[in-house]
């Protein structure tokens, strides 16, 4: 009996055709592996896990991705997951792979603080060039981040 390519336990529900030298190899995955490995990106609570015809964050469409092999934003990996995950598998040659090696500055808190640094830089920049509207917008985003951080702090 055929089993999921990744966990080698469950029955497969999704199949994926992988081009190999001299033909096509079909790989089969159970839904939980398929989702678990690839469709849980940016799981910071406000995602609904659906996939779309176009990415609601950047507007990238399925057709565009097919044409250019480029995604539109970080969230596309989730919102257009059904299209992009097989692309990742094909390009990276192995479905069972997850990232190893260097990590980004880890933890939500630190990442938020990096975005805060970015906004601070931009607020300063816009002030310098006299664009006070944008400077203020950056300021407001910073405050929103701070409120979020305070909330996250209380939650812990």
């Amino acid at each position: 009996m055929r089993l999921c390519f990744a966990c080698k336990k469950n029955h497969p529900a999704v199949s994926y055709e992988r081009k190999v030298r001299g033909g096509v190899e079909i790989e089969h995955y159970c839904l939980s592996c398929y989702e678990n490995k690839f469709l849980s990106i940016g799981s910071d609570g406000n995602e609904d896990g659906k996939t779309y015809e176009a990415c609601p964050y950047c507007g990238m469409t399925v057709a565009e991705v097919k044409k250019t092999a480029l995604v539109g934003c970080a969230k596309c990996y989730q919102t257009l997951g059904l299209l992009i995950v097989p692309m990742v598998i094909r390009m990276q040659q192995n479905a069972a792979d997850v990232h190893r090696g260097k990590c980004a500055a880890d933890g939500e808190g630190l990442q938020r603080s990096n975005r805060r640094k970015e906004l601070q830089t931009l607020a300063f920049h816009y002030k310098q060039v006299g664009d006070l509207v944008r400077a203020k917008a950056c300021q407001e985003q910073m405050e929103a981040l701070d409120r979020g951080n305070a909330k996250a702090g209380r939650g812990r």
Binding site: R21, K37, F38, S40, I41, G42, Y57, C58, G59, M60, T68, A69, L70, V71, G72, C73, A74, Y77, I84, M87, V88, M91, Q92, Q93, N94, A96, D97, V98, H99, R100, G101, K102, C103, A104, A105, Q111, R112, N114, R115, K117, E118, T121, L122, H125
Partner: protein, 344 residues
Amino acid sequence: MRRKKSELTTTVISTRMRLARNLQAYPFPTKLSREQAEEIVVLTRNALARLDSGWTEYDVRAIGKAKAMLLQEQHLISPALVAGRHGGTAFVSADGEVSVMVNEEDHLREQYIVSGFRLDDAYERVCSLDDGLGEQLHFAYDKKLGFLTACPSNVGTGLRASVMMFLPGLERCGGIRALVEKWSECGLTVRGMFGEGTRSEGYRYQISNDKTLGLSEYEILRYMETATIEIAQAEQVERKKMLAEEGYRLKDECLRAYGILTNCGYLRFQEMMDMLTQVKLGVALGFFRLTDDEPYALDLFIDDMRPYSFCVEHDLFGADKAARDVHRAAVMRRVLPRLVVRTD
């Protein structure tokens, strides 16, 4: 290891590292607005200035074609950066060795290129720059997919390590195709420079990792190291065969090329490149030796003779083609004999 290194100096020309990174808060370059693209430039400029002084900034819309072509010849920017939607920007380090391209295919492409076979040094240099940037910028990152990139072929480490090799023996014996197939199964690509497929210009081939997900940077570098050393050894075997089978004829070809280069009065670019390839082959086969201690002196000289680099160095932008060809011949006559001499 020392012995291996010296064998590698006539097969490996240069080593290059590139890291792809994106900022979480912005769409990737194909979906960026003009303002967003400029914000990323501001953020990168600011982050780099905090790490190091002396970065030079090039806005490809502003620098003009000649400068853009020169930077491309120096491998500091890519054609894709020049062709980008909003026009990309490049930051080049004070020593001219590291560049950060902004708004190419990804928001950031951090890259470093160095002569010779120096995978670990090259990675360390680009990695420490990346650490510094990563402390200030919110990179798009996912625990499972690693660094998120515009093309899924780069997710994970975002690392493309490549080694430029000089493989006349393998090309002449038709051994390249087997290499391409063998290493593609291990997640590495072998391609001829200046062209897709397996043809090359000047026997130059680039070996690089295809796979960026599921392997750590360290593992990628080790794969690359193994592949490079194996290919270099196979190349040495073929060179010995070449010498045994057609040594006299090859020596004659190389000497004739050297003779033309050191005696001509008029030298077109393409002819020069073909002849210099013969001279480089002659060095690899031991008909010539370099006078310098610098083992990459000839490669560096070839780089300096590329069209835009040559015109900048010798102030020839106003000159017509014939004048340039005459000047090129004069430079060649003067420099080559000082750089490369016959061994017999």
